[in-house]
């Protein structure tokens, strides 16, 4: 399990990176934390001629707050978030998700941008950030564009990214006061890929909410309007109103034929709802694994 030979370059600015990406022949891959592409190279599932290391671009490693939006550079690591080295507008939600990703060595290197671009359906950020209503900022030679995450992730390991584009940042809207957040995943073993993910971001005051059922075969199942899961109305009593049958229906409509799989996903979502209703937020560092 040794990779096929490849060239490796590490541009030191975004323009240089984009220029190199545009002129490079086919068979170029980007590397940030290398937690997915590393094994894929070793298994020779990819054999790029050139690897561009994007961690030399300072902009991609920064995080900042713009008004009500948290902007995380693509190369911010899971551990940066877990350890609180970046700002937070989500009341600790991001930290708790980050703390339960794989194992600490993976979190030390793995990046939020890399996880989204790799778009493994079982990855935490794909589901959690979709539920939080995040957008991704994409740069190409013709400028920048911003896309809601649910339109960026188009399938398992598939994203809407042009050949000469890169994801530069994730834009996470603040979790408003009074909003409830619940995120639960089910793994066969702590640290392994999730078999089911449930995430809800509910605003009982406004009667609004988003829900995500993740770790499915394709992109996460998003209910951008989660009211059907709660009998048509999201209020302070949302936990009591959760309708497992509606969640099951959503999964059936999304094409999940397997009864056992649906049961597990619905259970996990119901526990995310229960977590959202829990009066006290859990510790900032404890993993939220089912």
């Amino acid at each position: 399990m040794k990779p096929a030979a490849f060239a490796w370059e590490r541009p030191d600015s975004l323009p240089a990176l984009l220029a190199r990406l545009a002129e490079a022949p086919a068979g170029v891959k980007l590397i940030a934390g290398g937690q997915s592409i590393g094994p894929m190279l070793n298994l020779r599932l990819v054999e790029p001629a050139l690897i561009l290391d994007i961690t030399g671009v300072p902009e991609l490693r920064t995080a900042r707050v713009e008004g009500d939006t948290l902007v995380l550079g693509a190369c911010v690591t899971h551990a940066d978030i877990e350890d609180g080295r970046v700002p937070d507008l989500t009341g600790g939600a991001l930290r708790r998700v980050a703390a339960a990703i794989a194992y600490r060595p993976v979190r030390n290197r793995g990046t939020v941008g890399g996880s989204l671009v790799h778009a493994d359906p079982a990855a935490d950020w794909v589901s959690a950030l979709t539920a939080l209503g995040a957008e991704v900022e994409i740069a190409g030679r013709n400028g920048r564009r911003t896309v809601p995450l649910e339109r960026f992730v188009t399938g398992a390991l598939a994203v809407a990214l042009g050949a000469a584009e890169i994801l530069v940042a994730v834009r996470v809207p603040a979790l408003p006061a009074g909003a409830a957040w619940g995120y639960v995943k089910h793994c066969a073993k702590i640290g392994e890929f999730a078999h089911a993910i449930g995430a809800v971001r509910l605003e009982p005051d406004a009667g609004l909410g988003r829900a995500v059922i993740g770790a499915v075969e394709g992109p996460p199942v998003l209910l951008a309007d989660a009211r059907p899961l709660f009998g048509g109305r999201i209020g302070a009593d949302f936990a009591a109103r959760f309708d497992a049958g509606a969640a099951d229906l959503a999964l059936r409509e999304a094409g999940m034929a397997d009864t056992v799989e649906r049961h597990i996903h619905v259970t996990v979502l119901s526990r995310a709802v229960a977590a959202a209703a829990a009066p006290e937020p859990r510790s900032n560092t404890l993993p939220e694994a089912a």
Partner: protein, 784 residues
């Protein structure tokens, strides 16, 4: 002087280097001119080879079966009547019979370049129907793995001890029980570096092996060269568990290549090769019926057991060790009057099945202990009551069981009683009645086994396999400065032999453990041995080291007596000194005299000096029987299938413990692997015989968070047959956990009507079983 002998809980000497990352494994070897090998392996489970296309540029770097002039296939024959012989070619000829079978060998300065070459070799294969299901493989009309056999059965056996007498029992419980196929997954995979020593005209084969001398036998036979031209060196070994007790085709191929190329060559197994091509174990299937009285007393056990042996008979243990052993050990620690067991060792298009820690015992314990719980439910009595009524009792010891196994000693009911007390059965039952606030369900599971270990000539000669253990030998040599060197032919793959055998020597000679060195893992420097397997080393090599040290002590006493000017029978040996009527002389002075001042020796001194090779066999070689009662308490989430181990108790009897710390370490390690078998590990195959996991993302091993801190309670009933009363315990930790945990899960879910009969109990299987009880019409995507 500190107490360092038998029974002392000394930290392991070898850990100083191993825990600091200073161990020396095959992968650490760097030899001048060494080149790397990558193999072209079959992508198909079963296919006829039409052609192997090697690009012209790589003609001198790629070797196929056609190049291997004079190399014989690996043959691991069993002498059991009716055994059909498989020939495992070193590089495939004619057909490939498993995914990962070696087809071509590519050599290059680095592994990456060798893999480049391997990727350029094109195989022209005609796919054949894969034999992937061991039960279907027994049916007429199945595709054949070895055509000339006429069927797919390596061996069929039958034992029948009056089963007729049990058939009218009031309770009859039948179950179909099966265990998943596994990979052993030691931290270090296999690896081989071969160099040609021109001065000695010798192939020096560095390979991670539990049995260097047996590898030399096999290599010599396959290559057709005399044993004197082969030296096997097994350096530090990063876990074996049986996987390194096998002669691999890779070993033979590399040895041939070194002869051909003249420069050192290396192959290091990668994890994908390990999982998909080489390391398979455990897949058993049982149809088992228990006959019992209403009080749970067993009247008889009737069983049909099938083992998926894979494509070839592995050297030296053969393809039938697992299944045929099932028939002899299925009765476990229980006493009942009637028994029948029919077994099949079935050839399939999978990697050969290899012995993995516990070997057949893990599957046998799983089948029997699950069916005992079923008996308890059918009789309406507690699971512990069924066991209490059937365990062999201490007053029966030594006991010959229904398959003529000779249990040497022990108190099995006491082990059970202690385990029940430790987990507090009454408290668990009360908690179960109360229910859990989080909706989970609590369950208690029991499993008891006895483990025949260090069984010798009289047992293995009957198998007629390429390896029969005889006397075990050890050499002991005092150095001129009074240090001690021990040499054994078995090898440590993590057991701590450098410490424990030094403790044995200390018991006899009083030499500090720090001044005793163990030389092992090298055929050039050690006495012949069948190696480290069958939980045998502490009994066999321990006994041999003691025997050598005793002879050394006798010689030392005679020299010391002369130095003291006393008669030998007036002297005694104590604390490393020869003590006479008028004074004493330390071993160092005796050694100095023999080596450096021979002028001080008596004229009639023993010319053998202070170097002894001695042989050893226990008083009986039918094996020691260690045993244990395991009790597991779990919490099961019926909606997600998650299993949390709340408590785990092991009451174990390994006889005299040479080093209790090392024994505990063995038990913890075995438990971790047993938890893997119980809950996580499974190598699945599709209908084309393709293995469905190629990385640890798909083949799940238990992690640190999944292994509880078990509570271990030792009983110490010395074996009457071994030197210090020690019993082999190396494998036991891995035997009972799958049964104990499955019984615990079933106990938790029994009120829902769930009974799981397949390991591992994955979340998916548990949820599937729970849902099946709620809505019988559920269509399952996979069989439970």
């Amino acid at each position: 002087m500190s107490r360092e002998g038998v029974g002392a809980p000394l930290p392991r000497k070898e850990d100083d280097r191993l825990m600091r990352g200073r161990g020396q494994y095959v992968g650490d070897l760097r030899l001048p001119g060494m080149q790397d090998v990558a193999f072209v392996r079959s992508p198909l489970a079963h296919a006829r080879i039409r052609a192997v296309h090697v690009p012209e540029a790589y003609r001198d770097r790629v070797f196929t079966a056609a190049d291997l002039d004079g190399v014989l296939p690996i043959r691991a024959v069993s002498g059991l009547p009716g055994f059909k012989v498989s020939e495992q070619p070193v590089l495939a000829t004619g057909k490939v019979r498993q995914v990962g079978e070696l087809v071509a060998m590519c050599v290059a300065p680095t592994r990456a370049e060798a893999e480049d070459i391997a990727a350029a070799v094109v195989l022209d294969l005609e796919e054949l129907p894969a034999v992937h299901d061991m039960l279907a493989a027994r049916e007429p009309g199945s595709a054949l793995v070895h055509e000339h056999w006429g069927d797919n059965v390596f061996l069929e056996t039958l034992v029948d001890v009056g089963i007729e007498s049990a058939l009218d029992a009031p309770i009859k419980v039948s179950r179909t029980i099966s265990t998943g196929r596994q990979c052993m997954a030691p931290i270090e995979g296999r690896g081989t570096v071969v160099q040609l020593d021109h001065r000695l005209d010798q192939l020096v084969v560095h390979t991670a092996s539990q049995m260097p001398h047996i590898v030399r036998n096999g290599l010599s036979e396959c290559l057709g060269i005399e044993q004197g031209r082969i030296r096997i060196v097994s350096p530090d070994v990063g876990g074996g568990f049986g996987y390194k007790a096998i002669l691999l085709a890779e070993d033979v191929a590399l040895a041939w290549l070194a002869l051909r190329c003249g420069h050192p060559v290396r192959w290091l197994e990668d994890r994908r090769e390990h999982l998909t091509s080489n390391a398979n174990c455990r897949e058993h299937h049982y149809r088992i019926t228990a006959y019992a009285e209403r009080d749970g007393r067993l009247r008889g056990i009737d069983c049909e057991a099938t083992v998926d042996s894979g494509a070839y008979s592995a050297y030296p243990f053969s393809a039938c060790l697992e299944a045929a052993q099932v028939a002899s050990i299925l009765p476990g620690p229980y006493d009942f009057p009637a028994y029948r067991c029919r077994t099949w060792s079935v050839a399939t298009n999978k990697c050969p099945i290899l012995p993995y820690r516990g070997v057949a015992r893990t599957g046998v314990c799983f089948a029997l202990e699950l069916v005992l719980d079923a008996v308890a439910r059918a009789a309406g009595i507690a699971p512990e009551a069924v066991r209490e009524r059937n365990l062999v009792r201490p007053e029966q010891m030594p006991f010959e069981n229904i398959t003529k196994k000779h249990f040497d000693s022990g108190d099995y009911p006491e082990a059970l009683a202690r385990a029940l007390k430790a987990v507090d059965v009454d408290a668990i039952r009360a908690r179960q009645r109360q229910g859990e606030p989080d909706g989970r369900r609590i369950g208690l599971g029991l499993a008891i086994y006895c483990e025949q270990a260090a069984h010798g000539t009289s047992v293995y000669s009957g198998w007629g396999i390429p390896m029969v253990p005889g006397h075990e030998q050890a050499s002991a040599r005092l150095t001129p400065d009074g240090g001690l060197e021990l040499r054994i032919g078995a090898h440590s793959h993590g057991q701590g032999l450098e410490t424990t055998l030094a403790q044995v020597a200390h018991e006899i000679l009083g030499v500090p453990v720090a001044r005793t060195r163990l030389v092992h893992g090298d055929t050039a420097m050690t006495p012949y041995s069948t190696g480290s397997w069958g939980s045998r080393v502490m009994v066999m090599a321990g006994g041999a080291v003691a025997a050598a040290c005793e002879e050394l002590r006798a010689r030392a006493v005679r020299i010391g007596a002369h130095l003291l000017q006393a008669r030998p029978d007036a002297c005694r040996f104590e604390g490393g000194h020869v003590v006479g009527p008028t004074g004493d002389v330390p071993l160092e002075a005796i050694a100095r005299t023999w080596y450096r001042r021979p002028q001080d020796l008596a004229p009639d001194t023993d010319p053998g000096g202070l170097e002894v090779t001695a042989g050893y066999k226990p008083v009986r070689d039918s094996g020691t029987f260690s045993y244990a009662a395991h009790a597991a308490v779990v919490a099961v989430d019926p909606d997600l299938g998650a299993v949390e181990i709340l408590d785990y108790v092991i009451v174990e009897d390994g006889g005299t413990l040479v080093n209790p710390l090392v024994v505990d370490g063995q038990i913890y390690g075995g438990l971790a692997q047993g938890i893997g078998t119980a809950l996580f590990e499974e190598m699945r195959f599709d209908a084309r015989g393709q293995p469905l996991a190629s990385t640890f993302a798909d083949y799940l091993l238990p992690g640190a968070a999944d292994v509880p801190m078990a509570r271990i309670d030792h009983m110490e009933t010395p074996s009457p047959y071994t030197r210090f009363g020690q019993k082999g315990i190396g494998e036991g930790g891995a035997i009972a956990p799958p049964a104990a945990l499955a019984n615990a899960v079933n106990d938790a879910l029994a009120p829902l009507g769930v009974e799981l009969l397949h390991s591992p109990a994955t979340p998916r299987r548990i949820v599937e079983a729970v849902l099946a009880t709620r809505a019988p019409a559920v269509t399952a995507r996979e069989a439970a």
